[in-house]
């Protein structure tokens, strides 16, 4: 029967460290997108206005 063996601190550091990097990058990209959403909508609006103008 396999004995209960806890993960070494280095294992926790690797796991939590990697998860932190991944979550940080994801949240940063979503936060940036939510901040710049207006500009993206503006592009779409401008292009549609140009089409109407033409």
């Amino acid at each position: 029967m396999e004995k209960k063996k806890r993960m070494k601190p280095l294992g926790w550091i690797f796991m939590i460290g990697t998860w932190t990097i991944v979550i940080f990058l994801f949240i940063m990209s979503i936060w940036l997108i939510s901040k710049r959403k207006v500009k993206y909508e503006e592009n779409k609006g401008k292009e549609e206005n140009n089409k109407k103008g033409n």
Binding site: M1, E2, K3, K4, K5, R6, M7, K8, L10, G11, W12, F14, M15, T18, W19, I21, V22, I23, L25, F26, M28, S29, I30, L32, I33, R36, K37, K39, Y40, N43, K44, K46, E47
Partner: protein, 511 residues
């Protein structure tokens, strides 16, 4: 020039791009690779590769796609022709058309297994074995193994005779893919991505919570910590092993769906001033979230909790299909409400699969639409017929999936990515790419990525290519049976046929 469609919303675009990237590999291949290559220490080359290959190439492919799209082209032969004004460029681009189409031929069939297994699990039609019998892993898994063999019609000979469930599921999955594709970018792909991706994340979170609360039915001391320990505890003796670096670079490549041509084709439906720098980055981070956190916390930890480290190691070594279609059902079917968790697992894989297969089919659809001027419905029908007949090779001939996966899903991707990086960074001009990337950009990409794209990524890609060449090509003739040669013949025929069509189209255009 036909008016090309555009993505309706940015979130729809990012979800579709993330759907392209998040595939079966995120949940089956990544944990196996991490566990096999030194656990936590695998994450060092993995993160390094993400920044040296993954994210830079993602930006390059988005840039190529948008650049070609605003010029009315959305297919890989046209991409390379725009980047390099040489007659051979269009034929090099055929690799970007050939690769995703071949992957789609076997991917749709595998995807259909997940749909069938989802319903079989939901209706309690998968085997149930008393969980106190987990002494002998092979005996315990035998009913599941037999079930899977019968499902695929696996025989001792070179042929397979699939069950009616497998064949019906394949037909349904193929029709569903073609129906969605025929609806177009906004009403088809974007709408599906907006439904499938949130559901995929929801199902994955539910399964992670369930796996984290699992305990070994015989020895309650074995819990999630044991599973996480196996994946994450670093084995530093392996860090100097070049094969780990190669495996990590390969994993980054597959997980982000680089070199399939799909990213460029999706990006070709962007407007000229739509941001690609931030959207590309967000796509990569969404994929990493799904892979590293969710993908790494379901299959392997569950297998370890239930079967112990030694058995789980053997399962991991025997491949992703055994893990996904034999081991995981064996775990879930014996839990309270196990049929529901099993169904969630397979529907999660189905959503991951369908969002990827739609992207894999899109390069061929765009080629038929943009270069042959066919309608969306005609293009979907033609591709559907091609995939239907070609898939019979993988349905009936043993080893065809593996053979196609090597040529298209492994070698083809890296080969095409190497070509496009060389063409755009060295012939078309790195500075022009950089300028194009920043048109309408919501973020300024650090300049270091320019040098990475121009010098580091091509060297790394060439290294991967040469090493694989060295490792696999000497073995090509060793174990090949007639059905493998038949598959190779089909691949050669398909490639030559695509080259001929591209040649005729370009000749007519010139004329």
């Amino acid at each position: 020039m036909n008016e090309r469609e555009h993505w309706k919303t940015r979130i729809g675009l990012i979800l579709a791009m993330a759907g392209n990237a998040v595939g079966l590999g995120n949940f089956l291949r990544f944990p196996v690779e991490a566990a096999k290559h030194g656990g936590g220490v695998f994450m060092i080359p993995y993160i390094v590769s993400l920044f040296l290959i993954g994210i830079p190439l993602m930006w390059l492919e988005w840039t190529i796609g948008r650049y070609a799209g605003i010029r009315g082209h959305g297919s890989p032969p046209a991409f390379l022709s725009l980047g390099w004004k040489h007659p051979i460029a269009k034929y090099l681009g055929v690799i970007g058309l050939f690769t995703p189409t071949v992957i789609a031929i076997y991917y749709v069939y595998i995807e259909s297994w997940t749909l069938a297994y989802g319903f079989l699990s939901l209706t309690n039609s998968l085997p149930i074995v008393d969980h106190t019998e987990i002494q002998d892993i092979n005996a315990y898994l035998a009913p599941f193994q037999t079930f899977h063999k019968n499902f695929l019609g696996d025989t001792d000979g070179p042929l397979m005779y699939p069950s009616r469930y497998a064949y019906l599921a394949f037909i349904i999955t193929l029709c569903l893919n073609m129906y969605i594709l025929s609806r177009g970018i906004v009403k088809g792909i974007e709408r599906v991505a907006k439904i499938a991706m949130p559901l995929l994340f929801l199902f994955a979170i539910v399964l992670v919570v369930r796996v984290f609360t699992l305990k070994n039915p015989v020895n309650p001391d074995i819990d999630i910590i044991k599973g996480l320990k196996y994946i994450w505890e670093p084995d530093f003796s392996k860090i100097s092993d070049p094969s780990i670096w190669l495996a990590a670079a390969g994993q980054i490549f597959f997980t982000l769906s680089l070199g399939t041509g799909a990213i460029q084709v999706y990006a070709s439906y962007l407007r000229e001033k739509d941001d690609i720098a931030l959207s590309g980055f967000a796509t990569a981070t969404s994929n990493e979230l799904a892979e590293v956190i969710l993908g790494g916390s379901i299959a392997i930890p569950a297998a370890i909790i239930f079967f112990g480290v030694v058995n789980a190691q053997e399962i991991a070594q025997s491949g992703a299909f055994r893990l996904g279609f034999i081991t995981l059902p064996a775990v879930f079917q014996n839990l309270p409400f196990g049929n529901i968790f099993g169904a969630l697992w397979f529907f999660l894989l189905f959503f991951a699969g369908i969002t990827s297969s739609l992207a894999l089919c899109q390069p061929a659809i765009s080629f038929l639409e943009d270069e042959l001027k066919l309608s969306r419905k005609e293009s979907s029908l033609i591709l559907g017929i091609i995939i239907f007949f070609s898939s019979h090779l993988v349905i009936f001939f043993k080893g065809a999936i593996e053979e196609m996966d090597f040529w298209a899903g492994t070698f083809g991707l890296v080969f095409f990515a190497t070509i496009e990086t060389m063409v755009f960074m060295w012939i078309f001009g790195g500075e022009k790419v950089w300028e194009e990337l920043h048109k309408g950009a919501d973020i300024r990409v650090p300049r270091i990525f320019f040098y990475i794209l121009k010098y580091v990524s091509p060297i790394l890609l060439l290294t991967i290519l040469v090493t694989w060449f060295w490792k696999y090509f000497s073995k090509i003739g060793e174990t090949a049976s007639w059905n493998i040669f038949l598959t190779r013949g089909f691949l050669i025929y398909l490639f030559v046929f695509m080259c001929a069509v591209v040649g005729i189209v370009w000749k007519r255009r010139k004329g």
